[in-house]
């Protein structure tokens, strides 16, 4: 949203609003019943044994939690800068999240013994499968977009058939179809190449549309000028149109890569030892599935966080370029 100078009184300064929030929080906590939790034990001097405190205990703990919650909200609203507010809320949510996982009673020694392998084997495979696929998808998308924009009915038909088919099927089904279907034609491909082909074709179809939009956003005058100078179709594309549309195309492509990183987990069904496969299998012998799933979830999250950081850098860079 755009920052303006119109100021309104903060909602949290209105007693009625604060009271409503407090009442809602109170009701919410009463429904969950926190009397048996650590808070209940902490309040034992007031409510007695939490297990036998009944509705009294339930009400007192809920009241206390709701009070803390509202005080916390007001405290955050008093922080001077937007940035500090964001940081504090992030930290609080992260702590809540960790406490939530901690309550699962996970075996951290098991996680520690497996995390190295999950990174060297799992993340490595996930990253290289995604990187190769996005590179191939990029090439497919350029060809597809040009074909879709061309006046050649033949090229348009093939390209639109392709995007329609591969955007219309679930990616998981494409993985199965390519892995099981190609051998029927006499090409026996291994799991990793099959996964790469499926990911490239599927994302190539989506990116074709992105590229098409990028190319179409270039002003018609550019095209006409280039043609007037006697440039042929290929040269116009290569020297005039694509260089101008690439800055528009790169940022959404980064987003596609982040999405692909997560979708690459689907190739685990054909036995590629990437992160998702390891998450499902490593904990099986000792029945530590939850540990492995949460570890893999955290690893995926960290990877996407790093990539999103890079993504925002890229976007900023291209935005600057456009302003010039």
């Amino acid at each position: 949203m755009i920052q303006d100078t119109v100021t309104e009184e903060l909602l949290l300064r209105k007693p009625r609003f604060v009271f409503i929030i407090f009442a809602l929080a109170c009701i919410g906590f009463i429904i969950i019943d926190p009397s048996q939790s650590a808070v209940g034990h902490f309040l034992a001097p007031v409510i007695g044994d939490p297990a036998e405190s009944g509705f009294h205990g339930r009400f007192v703990t809920s009241f206390t939690l709701a009070l803390l919650f509202v005080l916390n909200l007001i405290a955050i609203s008093l922080l001077p800068a937007f940035r500090y507010q964001v940081i504090v809320v992030w930290i609080e949510l992260a702590v809540l999240f960790l406490a939530f996982f901690y309550s699962f009673d996970l075996s951290f020694t098991f996680i520690r013994s497996k995390i190295g392998f999950m990174i060297t084997q799992g993340i490595f495979t996930t990253l290289y499968v995604s990187a190769i696929s996005i590179a191939i998808a990029f090439v497919i998308a350029i060809i597809g977009a040009v074909a879709k924009l061309s006046s050649n009915g033949f090229a348009f038909a093939i390209a639109s058939f392709y995007t329609s088919f591969f955007r219309g099927l679930p990616l998981l089904m494409q993985v199965y179809l390519i892995y099981l279907g190609f051998p029927q034609l006499g090409f026996v491909i291994d799991a990793v190449p099959a996964g790469i082909i499926a990911l490239s074709l599927c994302y190539g179809a989506y990116m074709t549309e992105i590229f098409r939009a990028g190319i179409m956003s270039i002003d018609e005058g550019q095209w006409e000028g280039s043609r007037a100078l006697g440039f042929k179709f290929g040269l116009t594309m290569r020297k005039i149109i694509l260089p101008q549309s690439i800055p528009l195309i790169i940022p959404p492509t980064g987003n596609q890569f982040i999405a692909m990183l997560k979708d690459s987990s689907l190739v685990s069904v054909i036995g590629v030892w990437e992160l998702m496969f390891l998450a499902r299998t490593l904990g099986n012998k000792t029945f530590n599935h939850m540990e492995m799933l949460i570890t893999a979830a955290m690893l995926y999250w960290m990877m996407t966080m790093v990539l999103e950081l890079i993504q925002s850098r890229i976007e900023r860079k291209y935005r600057k370029k456009q302003k010039r």
Binding site: S113, K114, F117, Q121, I136, V139, I140, I142, I143, V146, Y176, Y179, L180, F182, P183, Q184, G186, F187, V188, I189, D190, A191, P193, I196, I197, G234, M237, R238, V269, I270, G271, W273, F277, L278, R280, T281, L282, N284, K285, T286, F287, H289
Partner: protein, 275 residues
């Protein structure tokens, strides 16, 4: 444009040529490569799983290694999902499957079963707090199992075992509400939530239950084994030579007590026979 197009097709051709099927007999190609490619499941402890050192281990894996040793070749493992293995038409992607597969009449249309190497008792487990005390009491209840398994076929009343020497059995659970999971360990995760929360019982192999109980799952095994599953080495159709060779190796392993030894190592009991 031309350049990118030719680059793309070159890349595709390179991708496709990786792992092109070797023509000819599977046994010949194993001997020529000096390596046998074995498919097995990574999600089926204690038969086959990834161990502390992050390599494949388990009963099936040990049997496969012994077969490779007696063939005089190296071994490599590959871990596609179960439905891809049972679909058949392997096209030389892997040469043999040692993963506790029961030879059924339906599967025999797609795959060949050279030899049965052991028998596991299939059993029923319920939550510790459950009042169910016999197998028949699960009739009409919510019963979980692995999808595409013989246990699922048993629950559907559609299990036809295609192997000599397999003991006869009766269907003891009538009209169960079948809940199929990707593996039976996930069914056990639902069972442990409590009696009747998501499941009233699970049908799977007895060793899986014993392993789960050892790992602190609040479940118990009910009644006697409901049937004995013969479990066979599996190959693709159409290579009689490999079929005979594996038959010979398995009977050799049974005679000299190797199968019994591996079974005792992993299960503590001898599952190489039904006696």
């Amino acid at each position: 444009m031309k350049l990118t197009k030719s680059l793309l097709s070159a890349a595709l051709i390179a991708l496709l040529s990786i792992g092109m099927a070797q023509a000819g007999e599977v046994l010949d190609s194993i001997m020529a490569k000096k390596t046998i490619m074995v498919a097995t499941d990574a999600n089926w402890p204690p038969q086959s799983f990834i161990n502390d050192k992050n390599v494949m281990d388990g009963f099936d894996v040990d049997v496969a290694r012994e077969i490779a040793r007696r063939l005089g070749v190296e071994i490599e493992f590959i871990t596609p999902s179960w439905d891809i293995i049972t679909a058949g038409n392997w096209n030389g992607r892997w040469d043999m499957h040692v993963g506790s597969m029961t030879p059924t009449k339906v599967r025999a249309k797609k795959l060949a079963f050279p030899a049965v190497y052991y028998y596991t008792p299939a059993a029923v487990a319920v939550h510790k707090s459950s009042k169910i005390s016999s197998v028949t009491a699960l009739s009409g209840k919510k019963v979980g199992t692995g999808t595409g398994t013989t246990f699922e076929l048993y629950l559907q009343g559609d299990l036809a075992i295609d192997a000599a020497g397999a003991p006869k059995f009766d269907y003891q659970i009538s009209n169960p509400e079948i809940k199929s999971y990707e593996t039976s360990t996930i069914a056990l995760d639902d069972l442990r939530l409590g009696d009747g929360v998501r499941l009233d019982g699970v049908v799977s192999s007895l060793p899986v239950f014993l392993e789960a109980i050892e790992n602190g799952y609040p479940i118990k095994v009910v009644g006697d084994p409901i049937f004995y599953e013969p479990l066979a080495v599996t190959i693709d159709l159409g290579d009689a030579e490999l079929n005979d060779k594996l038959k010979e190796i398995i009977s050799w392993m049974r005679k000299d007590g190797t199968l019994t030894k591996i079974s005792k190592k992993w299960y503590g009991v001898d599952y190489a026979t039904t006696d």
